[in-house]
Amino acid sequence: MSDFEHPLLDDDAGPLVRPYTVSNGRTAPTAKLDLLSLVRSTGQLRPSQLENEHAEALLLCREPISVAEVSAHLRLPAMVIKVLLSDLVDVGAVIAQAPDPAVDPTDQTVLEALLNGLQRRL
């Protein structure tokens, strides 16, 4: 969370910044992202070059990660995260896998990867 939040209050006070303040009130991301869109940092920008939530989001993107996971880790609604991540896409800090064209659920290669991956866990 950002440094300029009232530091004398603890977590029990709840979030002091309304979620959409983080996205400057924007609710429409510029990049097309859904909950399962995967993102990864490009290395073009370091988290220290960004502010607050953008930096925290970028830190999470060192390995491929979904919009849903970034949302859960930063405890912000998915829509806010989509705006944050599309900002990062716009400045070249992360690449995103476009949700379209969607993965074909009948693709046997992907289904075999799913089966093999599950069976390895038994």
């Binding site: 995967l38 990864r40 979904s66 075999e112 089966l115």
Partner: protein, 200 residues
């Protein structure tokens, strides 16, 4: 992964992003969806909030504000890294019927679904069965065997749910990682045979 944020590496040199695979766990409230997700996930299950805008048809419209309703829905999900190029995400569907409209968005792009059933309250999974049948989403039924529940044979459950003979029914213990993973294996084999038969 070797890549660790070195800034002089161009995007073209990076490996392609993995493919995300989405499976759903559906069923009535309290049937064990979150338990199931937790049992198979490699991470502590996470929760995200998604804001859904939907037509208000079919919901109580007392506000008169028009035909769009915005609702915030909390989704629990888990993750399994299958291999470097494939990540499975397992989403538990919201149990309350009033969130039925959410399932359209949730089920978009889903490979398939596990419908969890509790033999003490079989009727609770009817909405999920109806929904996936109408959408054409492939699914299997997993009977979560609660300690206090009467053990029915799968074919008895099939008759009670009026399920087609080609839809697998398995019994499981949603708390047990191996048992829950076997359910996902059964679902995947069902998806493979369904995909193979749809090509011909």
């Amino acid at each position: 992964m070797a890549y660790n944020g070195d800034s002089d590496r161009s995007p073209a040199q990076q490996p392609p992003l993995p493919t995300a695979i989405k499976l759903l766990v559906a069923g009535g409230f309290g049937v064990g969806k979150t338990t199931f997700v937790a049992a198979v996930s490699e991470i502590e299950p996470l929760s995200t909030e998604e804001t859904i805008t939907t037509a208000s048809i079919g919901t109580d419209d007392l506000t008169g504000v028009g035909d769009k309703v915005t609702t915030t829905v909390a989704l629990d999900f888990g993750r399994i890294t299958l291999d470097p190029q494939h990540i499975l995400y397992l989403f538990g569907t919201p149990g309350q019927d009033r969130f039925w409209f959410m399932w359209n968005e949730l089920s978009d792009g889903a490979f398939g679904a596990v419908v969890l059933a509790d033999t003490r309250r079989l009727e609770d999974c009817f909405p999920a069965l109806d929904f996936f049948e109408r959408r054409g989403t492939q699914f299997i039924v997993a009977v979560n065997e609660f300690d206090t529940g009467y053990r029915y044979e799968p074919e008895e459950v099939r008759a009670a749910l009026d399920l087609k003979p080609n839809i697998p029914i398995v019994c499981c213990d949603a708390r047990d990682p191996r048992s829950a993973t076997l359910v996902l294996v059964t679902l995947t084999k069902h998806l493979m045979s369904a995909a193979a038969s749809s090509v011909r």
